[in-house]
């Protein structure tokens, strides 16, 4: 009995650093933001408790809230499948056994390291502005310049390209998954005369389904919170057509000094993401196959 207690204590000691970090850097901020969401807090003053006022204002009065939600949903629906399909496609290419394939894997991962930065925004403007490189190339085939960033109908799809371009982390995970598919499945299918396409849809995809599921969840959670591409390229414009929820939250917190309101906004987002993640999990048993035949 005593020996177990001693072992327990040592165990706790080992995980103490993580526990402290968790309490200070994760649990405390989460609880603090919950408290702030029920108060008015301008960051440079004291927080004043106001009950549900922020939440009521969000759902009844704020026009930007509705707009930002719609913009963010559009963004997720557009960029998420595109990014994953692209990542899978590149992963399959990089799965080939070629000499020097490792160098290519590194090169294709590099865009993801750039993140969002002023350098990116300058490059983006250089490419997509009215006189940018893309329009200049289009001019060679006699196409009128297109307002990629300036047209409210196009801008959102344009900044979505930034996240698609940074597919590196999804690609690496897909690559790992691809390597785990036993060769014998493909060999058996080949013997039975299956075409490459059939093999893809009936072997690759089902075997990868846990990985696809994982990537969908992770990337969806990230997409809902997307901020940098909007902030760095269009600042939410034109006419709030790229005013992602993340930017809307940022403006309220750091531009208008309404920390309490911004905290409330972040909790609303949390609930939304929670709901979607829950839905995805529920439906997952229909299409996700785990190798051991077990269920979630």
């Amino acid at each position: 009995m005593q020996k177990n207690k001693k072992k327990d204590r040592i165990g706790y000691l080992y995980i103490l650093p993580w526990i402290v970090g968790f309490l200070v850097f994760q649990l405390y901020p989460i609880l603090a933001s919950l408290y702030y969401s029920f108060s008015e807090y301008s960051l440079i003053g004291e927080a004043e408790f106001v009950g549900f006022k922020n939440y009521i204002q969000i759902f009844t009065e704020d026009r930007d809230f509705k707009n930002s939600l719609i913009v963010t949903f559009k963004y997720v629906i557009y960029s998420l499948p595109l990014k994953l399909m692209f990542a899978l496609f590149i992963a399959m290419l990089l799965n080939m056994k070629l000499k020097g394939i490792n160098i290519f894997r590194t090169i294709y991962y590099i865009p993801s390291i750039f993140g969002g930065s002023v350098a990116i925004s300058i490059i983006w403007r250089f490419l997509f502005s009215h006189e940018g490189l893309i329009n200049q190339l289009l001019a060679y085939i006699n196409v009128e310049p297109i307002a990629w960033i300036g047209n409210p109908n196009l801008a959102l799809y344009n900044i979505g390209l930034l996240t698609v371009w940074q597919f590196g982390s999804s690609m690496v995970i897909f690559l790992a998954g691809l390597k785990n598919i036993p060769e014998i499945y493909y060999e058996a299918a080949k013997i039975d005369g299956a075409s490459k396409i059939k093999m893809f849809f009936h072997i690759t995809i089902p075997s990868l389904s846990p990985i696809i599921f994982f990537n969908i969840i992770m990337q969806m959670i990230n997409s809902f919170q997307e901020f940098t591409s909007a902030f760095v390229i269009t600042k939410g414009g034109p006419m709030k057509s790229t005013y992602l929820y993340g930017m809307f939250l940022y403006d309220n917190a750091f531009k208008y000094f309404k920390m309490g309101y911004a905290s409330a906004l972040s909790w609303v987002l949390f609930v939304i993401i929670l709901v979607f993640t829950g839905l995805l999990f529920k439906k997952s048993s229909m299409w996700v196959h785990y190798g051991d035949g077990g269920d979630m």
Binding site: I44, V118, S129, G150, K255
Partner: protein, 451 residues
């Protein structure tokens, strides 16, 4: 062999990672628009025991301002062995957000360059900045205009910062471009002439050429808001929060902007969306396809670069005989002292040196515009160190100054409301009369929530 290689690689990796973690990034801010990075002066002595006090000084600006201010920092360290100044500088983008976070967390620098409107926001609940009257024995205030200090730097009798320079809204003209298009070099602008000559300019130069270039936010401020103020002769929003205009006034102003767009006098909004605060980086400005822009005189150095003689300053369009030109004349920036600083005395001395000492004034020259301290102006004029373009601009601005704007006009949320609606109008999403109604209704509601 493999083992040696992998061990070697690990050591190299660790070395790279550790060096990456410890040193501060070298800030290579080419333009005034990069994000703020803090930078330690690499030439500072490592033996800090001789320097008993270290003060942190933060500012934003372009390359010229960084050079001048760093020269000041170095010179001060050389002349005062017990004090060293640690510079923290970067571009305008993100500076305010960083500062407010630092102030909230108690990690703000000792000496802070701030934009004048911020003193209102930042003194609402707490005294963020030191009342300079309490350290008056160390600072000579006589070189500043009393009224200027009173109007712009003082709240409730507390002097919260000293003005670095005088700034005002002026038009910047490309002399050759206008001359060639047969526009009178000495033309005195008003809104009708702007439209007329703009059409002339376009007809002469053809496609992709426009008389005026300004971002959507700038058009909202310098064209839409000024048009209203000049037409009504009132303040936009007075100190009590009352609007100085009605929906009909707004409608007329919006209609004017539509005319500018439809007649190709101003660069279309679709081409300006990514360029707020960065019009000088716009290809059309760089390629001389536009004739003029309207902005604060302190921004002119970034617009003209080395080619100062190509340009001249002009008074912005003004309706003759109006009671309120709307032209803003205000301190370029303020230098304030952090109220939580541990070395208030030392900082006050630095501030005095910055503003009044001859050597410092010469080093700093006009990197923050024409100085507000007339002592400094005297020193620089004797040295011929004041750029003609900027000196001219400030004179023009002072001549055409309008009624001082209330704090409501500079409030971020209110500004955003104006910009949103102006944008909708410019993109032809709503028509001017609809916009006028929405503006007035929403504005009143928003102002009420702030009272």
């Amino acid at each position: 062999m493999k083992k040696i290689m992998s061990v070697g690689l690990i050591i190299v990796l660790m070395g790279v990672m550790l060096s990456g973690c410890s040193s501060n990034e070298d800030s290579s801010n080419e333009t005034s628009n990069t994000t703020v990075e803090s930078n330690t002066d690499s030439t500072e002595e490592t033996s800090q025991d001789e320097k008993s006090i270290e003060l942190r000084f933060s500012w934003w600006g372009g390359d010229e301002r960084h050079e001048g201010t760093l020269a000041f920092v170095d010179a001060y360290a050389n002349n005062n062995s017990s004090v060293s100044i640690k510079p923290e500088y970067g571009g305008w983008d993100g500076y305010y957000q960083k500062l407010t976070t630092q102030l909230a967390g108690g990690t703000a620098p000792d000496i802070i360059q701030i934009d004048q409107p911020w003193i209102y926001e930042l003194s609402q609940n707490q005294e963020m900045f030191l009342d300079l009257n309490t350290v008056s024995e160390y600072i000579d205030f006589t070189s500043f205009d009393e009224n200027f200090l009173e109007s712009y730097c003082t709240i409730d009798g507390k002097l919260l910062g000293l003005p670095t320079g005088v700034n005002g809204v002026v038009a910047l003209e490309n002399v050759e471009k206008l001359k060639e298009a047969d526009i009178d070099e000495n033309i005195v602008w008003d809104w009708d002439k702007l439209l007329e000559e703009g059409i002339k300019y376009r007809n002469y130069y053809g496609d992709e050429n426009y008389l005026l270039i300004n971002s959507i936010e700038e058009l909202n401020r310098y064209v839409f808001q000024y048009y209203i103020m000049q037409s009504t002769g009132n303040e936009l929003i007075d100190d009590a929060g009352e609007l100085g205009f009605d929906a009909a006034d707004a409608e007329k102003a919006y209609a004017y902007i539509i005319q500018l767009i439809d007649n190709n006098v101003v660069v279309p909004p679709e081409e300006m969306t990514a360029y707020d605060g960065k019009v000088n980086e716009h290809p059309k400005w760089i390629n001389d396809q536009v004739g003029m822009t309207i902005n604060y005189a302190s921004t002119f150095p970034v617009y003209v670069g080395d080619e100062g003689d190509k340009y001249q300053s002009k008074r912005i369009p003004i309706i003759e005989g109006t009671e309120n030109t709307g032209v803003v004349v205000r301190p370029s920036q303020l230098i304030a002292i952090n109220n939580n600083s541990d070395h208030k005395e030392a900082v006050a001395k630095v501030l005095n040196d910055f503003m009044n000492e001859e050597e410092s004034v010469k080093l700093l020259a006009t990197v923050r515009g024409i100085p507000a301290s007339n002592k400094a102006v005297g020193i620089l004029t004797a040295e011929n160190a004041i750029s003609e373009l900027e000196a001219e601009a400030i004179e023009i601005a002072l001549d055409s100054a309008g009624i001082k704007q209330s704090i409501y006009v500079n409030d971020q949320e209110i500004t955003q409301l104006f910009v949103d609606i102006t944008q909708q109008v410019m993109f032809k999403n709503i028509d001017p009369s609809e916009a006028g109604d929405i503006l007035v209704t929403d504005l009143v509601k928003l102002i009420d929530s702030k009272k």
